[in-house]
């Protein structure tokens, strides 16, 4: 068993999966016996933790009676039987209602469609996309990202919606707005990167000036080499600086550097870039990773992530397994 358990309080220990399974199901018996022999001073703590687990697992919750159980099943079964008979009874009426509503829905769709046609561009996992907007601004979409705008009005308002991450090179002109879940970015003519994923909202300004606004109307103006990072705690925007080594972000050239990022974040990026499914062993999500991987070769990328952390990995088709 792991050494860190020696620092655990009874409450911490009682919340540990390995420990709970040992107490309730006698799993990991050998490991725990050995651990106890090594750390005899932990005995009182283990005893208390064991009491906590046993007491909680024995707590009597109101269960369902046998009669209640079969009664409820009969109810479900009756409802199912009733459902399956219904369409037969009202066959013609049902058909009529369906036809009318389908026609109405179709008419409504056509009408709405004429008002606003939404253009949606998606970069799936494993691909990046470079596209030009109607007014010739350029967008590079990172893997697993999408943008959407109204085709009819984009020329006038230059408003689009982003999910995921994209790098923008905006042709000078009227204001250009990127809406995301975490906030809004407004610019005149400039190049900047927006990341909006899993509660993160980060904007980096490469050239020109960028205005960033969150839901609470907090505002930041960024100039070249500045970035805005949304703090998880209170959603506030924080000003930070970065060095724009090249004039586009690393990811646009297939490089993914990380500095003290939780492994789960790194893995999500790997999954998006290579369109793979990664199985991470429990407890590894929060290990911090510093390093980089590149697109091109999955083997190398996985190696570059696991090697510095002394982790093992195996790749089978589209599935990567990472373990201690």
């Amino acid at each position: 068993m792991e050494d860190k358990f020696t620092t655990y309080s009874p409450i911490h220990l009682a919340g540990e999966d390995y420990f709970v399974r040992w107490v309730l199901h006698r799993e990991y018996e050998e490991q725990w016996t050995a651990w106890m022999q090594q750390h005899p001073d932990r005995k009182p703590i283990v005893e208390e933790a064991r009491q906590i687990v046993l007491t909680l697992s024995e707590s009597k919750d109101e269960g369902i009676s046998a009669a209640g159980k079969s009664e409820l099943w009969n109810r479900i079964n009756n409802s199912i039987q009733a459902e399956s008979k219904k369409p037969a009874r009202n066959n013609i009426r049902q058909l009529l209602i369906w036809t009318v509503s389908a026609a109405a829905a179709f008419a409504l769709m056509v009408w709405i469609n004429n008002l606003t046609t939404h253009e949606r561009i998606i970069a799936k996992a494993g691909e990046q996309k470079e596209v030009f907007l109607p007014e010739q601004s350029a967008v590079t979409l990172n893997a697993g990202s999408s943008i959407m705008y109204k085709e009819n009005s984009f020329g006038q308002d230059r408003i689009l919606r982003l999910e995921g991450e994209a790098f923008f090179k905006v042709i000078p002109g009227s204001s250009f707005t990127v809406e995301t879940e975490g906030g809004t970015v407004t610019v005149m003519g400039t190049s900047f990167n927006v990341l909006s994923r899993n509660g993160r909202f980060e904007v980096s300004c490469y050239t020109g000036k960028v205005k960033v606004q969150n839901d609470k109307k907090d505002q930041l103006i960024l100039t070249t080499g500045q970035q805005s990072i949304k703090r998880k705690k209170d959603d506030s925007l924080n000003l930070d600086t970065f060095i724009p080594i090249s004039d586009t972000p690393d990811w646009t050239v297939g490089r993914f550097p990380f500095e003290n990022q939780p492994l789960s974040e790194v893995i999500s990026e790997l999954e998006r870039q290579y369109a793979v499914d990664v199985r991470l062993d429990k407890g590894l999500e929060d290990i911090e990773y510093t390093g980089l991987f590149e697109t091109g070769n999955l083997d190398t990328a996985v190696y570059l992530i696991t090697w510095p952390l002394h982790l093992k990995s195996s790749i089978k088709g589209k599935t990567v397994t990472i373990s201690r």
Partner: protein, 188 residues
């Protein structure tokens, strides 16, 4: 696995498979539902609706990797969607407790020796005093005995937050139990 087979048979329209799944999970589901809302009717209604919708949408079902976790998360959503919490749910547990135990007057209760039953009763009281989410996660961890991965999925938390929530819940429980103990001693 047998469970996977039932899900697959359900997809192809076998009502016996639905009943197998029901029989296999109903006890745990009902207990969990009662932790979320202390309302027998509501829990049964939600379970009824849930199995009905599995049947109605059977062809589009994806076979879940953990059937138990999948059922729990579906039930949870249904219970929370079904409007405001019932009055019963917000009533602290100990009130209901007194009703159950009208035969034993308070004095005899204090006199009762520290039996296992007594510990369980104190625990029940303490469980009534911790937060809803703490109660839910303690139930999932120690009664349903799910691992953190499934718990996190059901409660839409990440692994670490689920872990932290258990620690906080246990700390709160311990505090409450000590408090109850103290009150008992003072009253004696």
């Amino acid at each position: 696995m047998e469970e996977t087979k039932h899900w697959e048979n359900l997809k192809s329209g076998d009502i016996n498979a639905l009943q197998e799944l029901y029989n296999h999970h109903i006890s745990a589901l009902y207990k969990y539902g009662m932790i979320l809302c202390r309302d027998d009717d509501k829990v049964k209604d939600c379970i009824h609706d849930m199995f009905l919708s599995f049947w109605a949408n059977r062809s589009g079902l994806t076979v879940p990797s953990s059937g138990k976790a999948y059922l729990m998360v579906s039930l949870r959503r249904r219970i929370f969607d079904k409007g405001p919490k019932s009055i019963l749910e917000t009533t602290p547990l100990e009130d209901a407790d007194i009703d159950d135990k009208q035969t034993a007057d308070p004095e005899t209760q204090w006199m009762m020796s520290e039996t296992e039953e007594e510990t369980q009763r104190k625990l029940e009281q303490a469980m009534g005093r911790i937060s809803d989410r703490q109660r839910e996660i303690v139930h999932m961890k120690y009664i349903q005995q799910l691992d953190y991965e499934d718990i996190a999925r059901i409660m839409s938390l990440n692994y670490q937050s689920a872990r932290n929530l258990v620690t906080r819940a246990l700390a709160a429980l311990r505090k409450e139990m000590t408090l109850i103990l103290l009150i008992l001693i003072v009253l004696m």
